[in-house]
Subunit: 368 residues, 2 copies
């Protein structure tokens, strides 16, 4: 049985829970911007590409099942899901205008250490769908065969299942000393990260291929890079480099050890659209219906607007990782220093030669 | 759509979360005793009553879906679910011995304020089923139509959706002044509680009737009373009366107000098997396949064994209710006093004329 594949990601991969001032709930305006920017594309994608007849729907099939893979704690996931439901209803009415209304079931997925308590407490009480939580890594099976009609994953798949081991191995040619990310400056490091990304994407696609019915759709939104651009050339890469330099500063001050800094790498990989396209084609379970990038001004705006937003947004995402690696007693110090350094150096982002992009991909599960 | 019926129960209905010394996880040995005592009956019930053919299974239906309504935070729910899966697998093999193995999906239901985080973190990593959390009151719809093959609810349905309003209304003939429970000493109080129970059971049965496929089974285990016996005649009723008398003591000491004590009633109703049978028959969606009571020694044992277990078990269950009504600042004082009073009066339980019983009911969803 495929459930034997179930595996768990480490605790640190979860966003900061609760609803407090440092929570993901309160600090995910960038991710909300991504949801907003993709809203119209999701609506149009469903309108153009969803076909109830090829999904095997007739008047007796009354439940349409949706999953959000990597939903975190809301409210972004609720906006995204409600938008999908609205578009699906519209299309259903267009295809079968006299049949009874669809029922909807929505599976909210994230790692078991995600704050599902907050997610569940903030579910809208007047929601018009059946809600279920799905604890587990999406790099593995989560649902029975042919469960879903629509899968969605926003801003998650740039997160790898793990940091490739070579990049933290001092004996490997891919040792990434002096950097905490795949900055693109060392070929062996890029190769190791790219191989991990390829393997993880394949695992994800294979799991979803089992769970999505033939003809079902999947929207993937993920951070990426324009063709031929490295992380170190993009504003976001400079942001991560600045976090890295804070860790080096902390090591110099004796707050954390140099070895700890050397062994810390972000499990993030920003891919190009060519790279993703190739992986999806080789995988073979899905056809690419739309491959685009989001046009939005969030990154530019958040850069200019507000250093505080920039720090707290990063903290809501990375605190778990930093805490797990360096210990909870130094977290406050590290992020305080990061805030200061970011304020002192904020102008460097205006000089960034490039910006990252957000891929928008709409896939259709091939009918076997 | 039936999802419009969704409604939430107040926070206090959830058991104490986490895994600490006062948690339900650490203090549910009585409920575990119920699970153990019912294990064999569930196994035998599935063996005798589950019929895959009437459920419409053939070799192409590979997922068997189970829900535990009112699962709390484990580990009891995991034991119960694993026992069900084992029995279902055995029966499936007996009915279709050459077909591929079933996949299992399990929905863990409880109110949205239940500690799902602890539940999800303690899911067995080597489990052989797909797990999902289902936040919401079971007195309402939680799943799409015809989702489940097997429903289970252990030690929950004696909890009402609310305290009947008459019993806390000083102008009503059913005003329950001087008691915190349906002790059976006042006809009007019993009538109000009984009507609430009847209404709640009907709501529960109607919701499950939608969710369970024709031919599907449901096991209900719930606290009850032998025919003709009142709560005040049973050991458990004396236990609740003792808690009530502690509240009166606290009011006399000025820790809480008398009005607060008068307006506090437990949303619990212990029914007789005749009463339940009548409700199920009038409801008409299910046939009664087995109606029995559990033979177990837990109550007797826990009475004799350990005052500490008796206090902490009660606290894990009732703390939320007490806290919501009287305020968090007095909870510690109330339960300290309860522990002392219980120790001083523990011998009274040996003099109890009767004991409550635990109903074991196996229902089959009628095929429409």
């Amino acid at each position: 049985m495929a459930t034997e594949e179930i595996k768990e990601m480490p605790k640190s991969w979860a966003m900061v829970g609760g609803e407090g001032p440092q929570s993901y709930t309160q600090n995910s305006s960038y991710q909300k911007g991504v949801v907003d920017a993709s809203k119209e594309m999701v609506t149009e994608g469903i309108k153009d590409k969803l076909d109830f007849k090829s999904l095997g729907f007739d008047s007796s099939n009354d439940t349409f099942r949706i999953a959000d893979f990597g939903c975190s704690v809301g409210p972004n996931t609720f906006f995204a899901v409600e938008n999908i439901i609205k578009a699906v209803k519209y299309k259903h009415h267009a295809q079968f205008n006299n049949s009874p209304p669809l029922a909807f079931q929505v599976f909210f997925n994230d790692v078991p250490t995600n704050d599902f308590n907050t997610l569940f407490k903030t579910l809208h009480s007047n929601r018009k769908y059946f809600a279920a939580g799905l604890p587990g890594t999406f790099y593995g099976r989560l649902l029975p065969k042919s469960t879903l009609h629509f899968a969605y994953s926003s801003y998650c798949l740039q997160w790898l299942s793990k940091v490739p081991k070579e990049v933290v191995d001092s004996k490997s040619p891919a040792w990434n000393k002096g950097s905490i990310q795949c900055d693109g400056l060392k070929k062996e490091v890029t190769k190791a990260y790219s191989a991990q990304f390829q393997s993880d994407m394949n695992t994800f696609l294979n799991a979803r291929a089992q769970e999505i019915v033939g003809g079902g759709l999947m929207v993937i939104i993920m951070a990426g890079l324009p063709e031929g651009i490295f992380m170190s050339q993009a504003g976001v890469g400079m942001y991560y480099d600045l976090l890295g330099s804070c860790l080096v500063d902390m090591a110099k001050l004796g707050v954390i050890s140099e070895e700890k800094v050397d062994s810390f790498n972000l499990p993030l990989y920003y891919s190009s659209s060519t790279e993703i396209e190739e992986i999806i084609k080789v995988n073979g379970n899905f056809s690419i219906e739309i491959m685009d990038s989001l046009s939005h001004q969030i990154w530019q705006t958040s850069k200019k607007s507000n250093i505080k937003v920039s720090v707290s947004g990063g903290r809501a995402v990375f605190q778990g990782l930093v805490e797990e690696h360096f210990g909870s007693e130094v977290v406050e110090k590290i992020f305080e220093h990061f805030a200061k350094k970011l304020a002192d150096n904020f102008s460097i982002f205006d000089g960034a030669a490039h910006e990252h992009i957000d891929h928008f991909i709409l896939l259709r599960r091939n009918v076997n």
